[in-house]
Point group: C2
Chain length 345, copies 2
């Protein structure tokens, strides 16, 4: 790859400080775009949509046609991993994902990872198609959910309050450990297959990092994530990995230092100054604009965007939100945001 | 007051390190106690219950008869303050509190604080009765909600996702500032009246501190809390104030240093070592046992209780949970917890 073709996102992930940070947006392909809402009607279920390489590829391309983004991210869902493990997943319109809750079952068993990879082959085909479709200076990000976040859905059968999942961690510690081990192995295989298919780097979405005791944070988040990174490297994957432990609060330092991640995703609530001081010296940081500013727009969007740019200055920085963009966000506000980040206004 | 009568809680709040920390439990009077569930049936609505000095006093006494607790806390609700400001509050069984959402109204107006104090006079009568009923070595805690937490309920009309309240803070900043100012004044008057009626110390429950941007955390939490403390001191209130910014994560240091609180309540997620280092040297710390351990009991309860004792050793420490006790908790587990804290087992 010629030097000029190296995507800015990968340069920052290798530790470079760029004058203007690369920018992408969590859930940049999604419901705030009218063309996505139209596209979505072409598949019966959300999982069918994710497993259609043509539809997933088109969803990824939509925001790239509108905005000068520095990265594309695979269109998929963190719950394809339980699906690969043989746990049925379905989506209730307007409510969210559902599974049969593990906590209501006596013995837990999961399909073999090799069988899971087979089940997920349309995802890797989508990655190949996306990689072929995007310009060389746009980085392609693969992803999976963090083991604890995915385990929470599997344990409870849905999102929301995580108390039943946390209770299982106290009451069936051996079973929960085995569940996390199964998720680590399947997730590592899943990420490795994405990289083999063309992903340039990876993100682990640990969306539900909040509310754990310090001991649980270590056992349920840090340890499994560390094992996931070890396993990934054993599988020969050398690309950078962004870890995003949303809601981890004071624990982001331990997460950044101990899991083996390359870069740290910072949520909306966490001050940049804290992230800089908590993460190892020179670790690239990603974040952390409030997604609500893309709904309200105007001065709030401008002020907050410039504040984020200023607060992360001096670190290798990837501009992003501190949480996923919401369906209520305006595409015009996204365009404006990127203009500001690129220094065009 | 003879030296031996000074409640252990107040000694720790004045900075003393005791070999065995005093202990109380957030929501210690509540639904996990069968006698409370029976008592609750004697009032038609939850607010009627709070406004009955006889019932509120009896609710406070119930856990004191069962457990050797070091503090009593007024039985009331953080939403009596909007009620005092003239905003109707009601409770939907099994769902929670409801108000008419301010965000749906054009112009916001609130009753005069003096009229509010009149409305809340049964609360102060309850404080007087409780003070007369409890032994001299048990501290009586008064409380209110943090201005932003209460504002969130008033803006949205209910709890849950706080995005609509955060959106109002962007879109109607002047109105939200005026709302917070009204809450600061009413809350200060309310706390001062509790102290006049016999409360020995105070706690501010900022239960919804999470998810704000750093700028919002400063404007919506730190500044109003600081003003509340200033106003309290202007009203001649000299008692210690525990601030409990649940979910504030990396921001607890700024909260502890800048608001003027005496002691910091630490939530379940925050490591004691982080709280010690983030708060000013020698600030008393309260917390932070996982409430779920009182549901699951057994080794988890024992291990976690001893871990909390050990982690906070060396600081002036008040043993408590990191969040309120839940209705599913077992009174036997509470008894066991207190035995461990008191060194009886």
């Amino acid at each position: 790859m010629a030097g000029g073709d190296v995507p800015a996102l990968l340069r920052v992930l290798s530790g470079e400080r760029l004058e203007r940070p690369p920018v992408w947006i969590m859930r940049q392909a999604g419901r705030y775009l009218p063309e996505y809402r139209e596209l979505r009607t072409r598949a019966k279920s959300f999982l069918d949509f994710c497993y259609s390489p043509a539809l997933a590829t088109e969803a990824v391309m939509q925001p790239l046609r509108r905005f000068p983004l520095d990265a594309a991210i695979l269109f998929s869902d963190i719950l394809v991993v339980p699906d690969a493990l043989g746990r049925k997943v379905w989506f209730v319109e307007g409510e969210g994902p559902r599974l049969n809750p593990l906590i209501e079952e006596q013995a837990w068993s999961f399909d073999d990872p090799q069988r899971g990879l087979q089940r997920l082959s349309p995802v890797y085909e989508a990655v190949e198609r996306i990689k072929a479709a995007i310009p060389r200076d746009i980085a392609l990000i693969g992803f999976c959910g963090g083991p604890w976040t995915v385990a929470t859905y599997m344990l409870q059968g849905q999102g929301g309050e995580k108390e039943r999942a946390r209770r299982a961690a106290y009451e069936r510690p051996g079973d929960v450990e085995a569940l996390l081990a199964a998720l680590v192995e399947m997730s590592a295989q899943h990420l490795a297959a994405q990289v083999k298919a063309g992903a340039d780097c990876l993100q682990i979405f640990e969306s539900w990092s909040e509310g754990l005791t310090p001991d649980q944070f270590r056992r349920l988040i840090i340890e499994p994530t560390k094992q996931l990174l070890v396993r990934l490297r054993e599988l020969g994957v050398a690309v950078p990995v962004i870890g995003f432990p949303r809601g981890a609060g004071a624990q982001i330092g331990a997460y950044a230092r101990e899991t083996g991640i390359t870069a740290l995703g910072v949520d909306t609530q966490t001050p940049a100054a804290f992230a800089k001081q908590a993460a190892p010296e020179g670790m690239p940081l990603q974040g952390n604009l409030d997604p609500l500013t893309l709904v309200v727009g105007g001065a709030a969007l401008e002020d907050e965007t410039r504040r984020v740019l200023q607060d992360f200055a001096g670190s290798p920085h990837i501009f992003n939100l501190g949480h996923g963009i919401t369906p209520e966000a305006s595409p015009n506000n996204v365009a404006r945001l990127i203009q500001i980040v690129k220094g065009a206004v």
